[in-house]
Symmetry: C2
Subunit: 305 residues, 2 copies
């Protein structure tokens, strides 16, 4: 079943919605990181940033803002800042001293093209840029909400967010007695934090009430774990060409994954459960405005790469 054929959503054209939003985000990213001096680092940043990712985090941020009644202009810098951070984490995770990956989004990884030194610095610069753009380019939002958004975003990246997930992931390689709790910790910290930040930033900057912010936080946590479970499934069921990145890496690295712990079928059932739990959290919102978020959850659940 494809996301744009979901029987629950006859009237919502998810494909057009995504194309629209992804184009807007890509244009904003293109302007936000111009090819200026020193050229090499800007080139390296643009190489990974404009490599055609799925832009799930920016789109989630824009959709959450819309859900709480905000305008797109309030949240666009935060939306593309999320992609900068996501790209930073990919560039650093791909380094030889981490996952040592040669292929990403169907292209050679950043350090393969620009060298490890530039890849480290390009990542650092992207991380700093993300905060700069939210602080300097956000318009139509009160400063107290901008400060709150920056606090949430920063928390999602650091030693209790993305970095924590990656550390525990690295230090778990080859461990044999890893259980589901431990795996969930890794996954919740590796993918969910930025998705959570995306939804929460959209709601905060869009002017949402605290209650809505918290509902969207839970929704994002669910689809964050869903994203990772599906990633694990794709790693064992798809080829490198289909994925646009090296397939079967988890098996080679002896990584703990959901398919390894509970088998492919149970993993798919678990994904289904996470998806329906997420959708339940959207009940009570304007159905028309929640359509993109429902479609996004379906997209994550049923994506093929």
């Amino acid at each position: 079943m494809k996301e744009d054929q979901d029987p629950q959503l006859p009237s919502f054209d998810f494909k057009s919605f995504m194309v629209d939003k992804v184009n807007a985000v890509n244009q904003a990213l293109d302007s936000a990181v111009p090819l200026r001096d020193p050229v090499k680092i800007h080139e390296a940043m643009r190489y990974s940033l404009l490599a055609g990712g799925k832009r799930v985090r920016p789109v989630l941020c824009l959709a959450a803002c819309d859900l709480v009644g905000g305008k797109e202009s309030m949240v666009m810098p935060a939306a593309y800042a999320l992609e900068m951070i996501h790209t930073m984490s990919l560039v650093h995770d791909d380094l030889p001293c981490m996952d040592n990956d040669d292929l990403r989004r169907g292209k050679p990884t950043n350090h393969k093209v620009y060298g490890e030194d530039i890849a480290v610095l390009a990542g650092d610069a992207l991380l700093a840029f993300s905060f700069e753009h939210i602080a300097v380019s956000t318009v139509g939002v009160t400063p107290d909400r901008i400060v709150r958004a920056i606090g949430e975003l920063a928390k999602s990246i650091g030693a209790e967010g993305l970095a924590a997930g990656q550390v525990v992931d690295i230090t778990s390689d080859g461990l044999t007695n890893v259980g589901l709790d431990h795996l969930e910790f890794i996954h919740v910290h590796k993918t969910a934090p930025l998705l959570e930040a995306a939804a929460v930033l959209g709601a905060i900057l869009g002017g949402g009430h605290d209650e809505d912010v918290e509902k969207l936080r839970k929704f994002a946590r669910n689809i964050g774990l869903l994203f990772q479970v599906v990633d694990d499934i794709l790693d064992v069921t798809k080829s490198s060409k289909e994925l646009g990145k090296t397939a079967g890496k988890d098996l080679v690295a002896d990584k703990v994954t959901y398919p390894k712990l509970m088998g492919i079928n149970k993993s798919k059932e678990f994904a289904e459960k996470l998806k329906s739990d997420a959708l339940e959290l959207l009940q009570g919102f304007d159905p028309e405005k929640s359509a993109p978020l429902i479609a996004l959850a379906n997209y994550i659940a049923y994506r093929q790469n």
Copy 2:
């Protein structure tokens, strides 16, 4: 001439002032990064963060805040956040793929103790932490000033700040036709940005007028370049033991430095000129409140490591 014997400052006890401020900053850093789960990354962050640096950036930030009439509590999170960022840049610069340094602040570098993967992640987490702490822990400051401060800080780190300096530095190694302009670009971008951010954040968060913010910006740019010129001089005149880091590295790496381009004596004269230009910018401020900044400029000019 030692900084605490400067004849212009008979009444200001710089040593006590520094001990006081450094203790306050170290205590704040110790609480800001507790040893929590996942332990390994927090341990790595604390290892480099609490390794006993000179804390020049935090002290400059506190002094700038005081100069414009602000309270220490307004600016403490920003002050220690600057040290987090400085530490991040040291940890990443020391990596084998960059400067490949084994010794820092008299101890083995972060990646030597925790591995390159953890060193990259600890740096990323410190960078994120710095923004989190400014956003979440700053008290007694209006949110618009916090947003402005975050924008300034972020700019100082990214592809027009620290990262730019490091990129141009790396790509200049072994070049033979590098002139003073090029060298100044590297130095201004490698050290000055964070010192500039320190002074500017102190002034902004302390409630300073725009005019004072800009005066302090220029002051910091001057002592930033001064800092780097003195660093170049120390690298060729001191031993590794005296410096607490590997000496003579610039020569080995065939790096362009001020002593190489203009000789030791002319480099010292240049440093003297930068110092007096910096001090001129402080005229017009309350002499008692500018004493720490004057002493700091002298300290940077005459430090021995």
